[in-house]
């Protein structure tokens, strides 16, 4: 797209943001109930959908079709205008959609992609109590019985499971095969009999983590994604790239919302008349963060472009995840520090806000979890060392 077209698109996105982002959403979404949060998220998703902004990264035939450059512009404008984030639909529009597009059958795509646009919510059912970093050791079983699988087991850390309609499920279909060879990838209706969801409260008092207990849950064989027993490969192929793709929005938000607020915070005159921005240490800290954010944004853009061209390397997504998560932590740390005491007493984070919400103390705590899910930093470093740098595998590790 020519630069002038892109600028035209930016103007259009900006006009849309000005007209459609509710000015008071931050106030109205503080302390809302779960039900209100879900209904606000669903309504906001439909607003974006009407404009063609809900799934810009999907193929055109399914309702997306924006170029990488347009997506970046859109994410920049949404962040700059402080749009609510699509928290609830995150797994649906990214992980579920990319799995269906890459490995699903035509029937599965027709069944679910339009439904996701209509508000169908997905959750990832991967981790288990004994299978965190070592995901391939998962024990949930799916036993073939005629045209169906019968599933038993327990999933953990399923964010948002309480509101999910469908689940991306990894389960063991061959208990005798080596652990990565006997796993299958299934689409599970969360309303199936035998599915029991229990929320877990986390350190900041929120309940978005869930446990999912599965007792003789019947899943029709038509809901298998990819070949039976090849679920591990399907998950690796569809999700490692996706892990990086989701960062495009997050990195633009970090630069255009989080960092901007940090600068505004530092620019404000304090009661003693001084501005933090005039302090050389603060300037230094901000400059270091801005440099790193610029690096992150370039990494994300490069990853997405190479992914679309089919030339992404095996470790790029890991580099992006590792860098984003640690940068987010440094930035929230700095934010909590510069806001000082006020950060201790500003403890209301609106629903629908991003990882940087402006409630710095809560954002600081929230940022700590980022180096753990979706492949802990230790796992990302192992991937980079082994697959990227060609280092030998750690000795005596049973895989």
């Amino acid at each position: 797209m020519a630069t002038s077209d892109l600028e035209e698109f930016r103007a259009e996105a900006r006009r849309w943001c000005q007209a459609h982002i509710p000015a008071d959403w931050r106030q109205t979404q503080v302390g809302v109930s779960d039900e209100e949060d879900v209904s606000f998220q669903k309504a906001w998703f439909q607003e974006l959908r009407k404009a063609g902004y809900a799934v810009p990264h999907w193929p055109r035939e399914w309702g997306g079709g924006m170029s990488v450059a347009e997506q970046i512009v859109l994410y920049q404008e949404l962040a700059a205008h402080d749009a609510p984030r699509l928290v609830l639909a995150f797994v649906s529009i990214h992980h579920a959609a990319s799995t269906l597009l890459a490995a699903g059958t035509e029937e599965q795509r027709r069944r679910h992609l339009p439904a996701i646009l209509d508000g169908e919510i997905w959750v990832q059912g991967f981790s288990e109590p004994e299978a965190g970093s070592d995901l391939a050791s998962l024990r949930t079983t799916a036993r073939r019985e005629g045209d169906a699988f019968v599933v038993n087991g327990q999933k953990l850390w399923a964010s948002g499971a309480a509101h999910a309609d469908w689940c991306l499920l990894l389960a063991r279909t061959d208990v005798t095969a080596p652990k990565r060879k006997g796993i299958s990838y299934l689409l599970m209706d969360m309303r199936s009999p035998g599915v029991d969801v229990r929320p877990i409260r986390n350190a900041s008092g929120e309940w978005h983590f869930c446990e999912i207990f599965l007792n003789d849950v019947v899943i029709p064989a038509s809901q298998l994604v990819g070949p039976e027993n090849e679920g591990w490969r399907v998950a690796q192929e569809t999700l490692s790239a996706e892990r990086g793709m989701t960062m495009l929005e997050l990195s633009e938000r970090l630069g255009n919302a989080g960092f901007r607020w940090l600068v505004e915070e530092c620019s404000r005159a304090r009661p003693d008349g001084l501005r933090l921005l005039d302090d050389a240490l603060v300037q230094d800290g901000l400059a270091a963060l801005e440099t790193e954010i610029a690096g992150l944004r370039l990494l994300c853009r490069g990853l997405v472009e190479r992914h679309e061209a089919g030339t992404a390397g095996p470790v790029e997504a890991s580099v992006v995840k590792l860098f984003y998560s640690e940068l987010l932590q440094r930035m929230m740390d700095f934010g909590t520090e510069v806001v000082g005491l006020a950060a201790q007493t500003s403890l209301h984070k609106p629903g629908s806000s991003g990882w940087e919400s402006g409630a710095w103390a809560l954002d600081f705590i929230g940022s700590w979890e980022w180096t753990i899910p979706g492949g802990a930093s230790e796992i990302q470093r192992t991937i980079i060392a082994e697959r990227g740098l060609g280092m030998p595998r750690e000795p005596e590790v049973a895989r």
Binding site: G205, R270, E337, R399
Partner: protein, 309 residues
């Protein structure tokens, strides 16, 4: 010069640790959060029975060291009670405790307690402090409330080192616990067919946390000795300790959380409680950069005197 705590002080610390364990141990923080009204009754009487409130850390080295050991034990159980702050109470004001505060918005983790508080700023201005009602649930506020100050005098210079150092001993106790919890977790938790502790990448993270903790312990003993010895650099030493404590807490707790994985953020793990209770200690009265700025301002280009004079 001997910066180690006396055997009596260490024994008092051990006694306190056992008494707090018998009173509920890890559950003390959980109950206090659930039932904020019991914050006082959960811990106050246990410590009274131990004779904690008869200790006057300003009176003798023995009592100062016993107070430090007590704070460390309270930190170990992450009790949500201002033990250090109560031990610092000034003798000449009608107050049950003392908190060091920073302008312009004084605050302290004293919410929900029916106690009289004195406050002192880093430059020694003393006030009587009235705690405002808790604006958020203890889950989120960790009992931090804003304080309204009523000025008393400028005679608090000698209160400041004590008021900074004892809470660092509480924080040290929390880091003792965090390292212990992380160590036992990685020895038990198996992934890839073996305990996490067998991975050198995990061992190195834990050893770095331990090095931080041990270094902080030495500095804590030194800053305490500096107060005992009545050195006029005691405030510099206290600020240096505070800076080290805040930095060490950040590194140790990050490692402990990272090694625990997601479970470390859940109520089921003690680490989650310890790290949340640590936040007010790390942020008040000054966080990392505020402490560093204050120390730099005081030292100028002179540097710390240190143990070798």
């Amino acid at each position: 010069m001997n910066i180690d705590l006396s055997e009596e002080a260490l024994e008092f610390g051990r006694l306190a640790k056992r008494a707090l364990e018998a009173a509920g141990g890890d559950e003390l923080a959980q109950i206090a959060e659930r039932e904020p009204d019991r914050r006082e009754s959960l811990v106050g009487p246990v410590l009274a029975e131990l004779g904690a409130w008869q200790l006057d850390p300003r009176d003798s080295a023995d009592e100062l060291e016993a107070a430090a050991a007590l704070c460390r034990s309270a930190g170990y159980w992450a009790v949500s009670y201002p033990v250090a702050e109560r031990l610092c109470r000034p003798s000449d004001l009608d107050a049950d405790g003392l908190v060091v505060v920073a302008d312009p918005a004084p605050a302290a983790a004293v919410g929900g307690l029916d106690r009289r508080w004195a406050a002192v700023t880093l430059d020694g201005r003393r006030s009587m402090a009235t705690a405002r009602p808790m604006a958020a649930s203890p889950r989120r506020s960790a009992f931090v409330v804003e304080l309204d100050l009523e000025s008393v005098d400028d005679a608090g210079a000698s209160d400041v080192p004590l008021g900074l150092v004892l809470p660092c001993w509480t924080l040290l106790g929390m880091l003792d616990r965090a390292v212990e919890l992380a160590r036992s977790y990685v020895r038990e938790r198996e992934q890839f067919g073996q305990p996490l502790a067998t991975f050198q990448g995990v061992q190195f993270q834990l050893t770095e946390a331990e090095v931080e903790r041990v270094g902080l312990e030495e500095l804590a003993k030194y800053a305490l000795w500096s107060i005992e010895a009545g050195r006029h650099e005691a405030l510099d030493d206290a600020l240096a300790l505070r800076l080290a404590a805040v930095e060490a807490a950040e590194r140790v707790l990050r490692v402990a959380h990272q090694l625990h994985g997601a479970i470390g953020f859940c109520d089921e793990t003690v680490l989650s409680w310890v790290s949340r209770q640590s936040v007010p200690l790390r942020r008040l009265p000054l966080g990392l950069s505020g402490t560093r700025a204050e120390l730099t301002r005081r030292l100028g280009r002179r540097g710390l005197t240190g143990i070798f004079g």
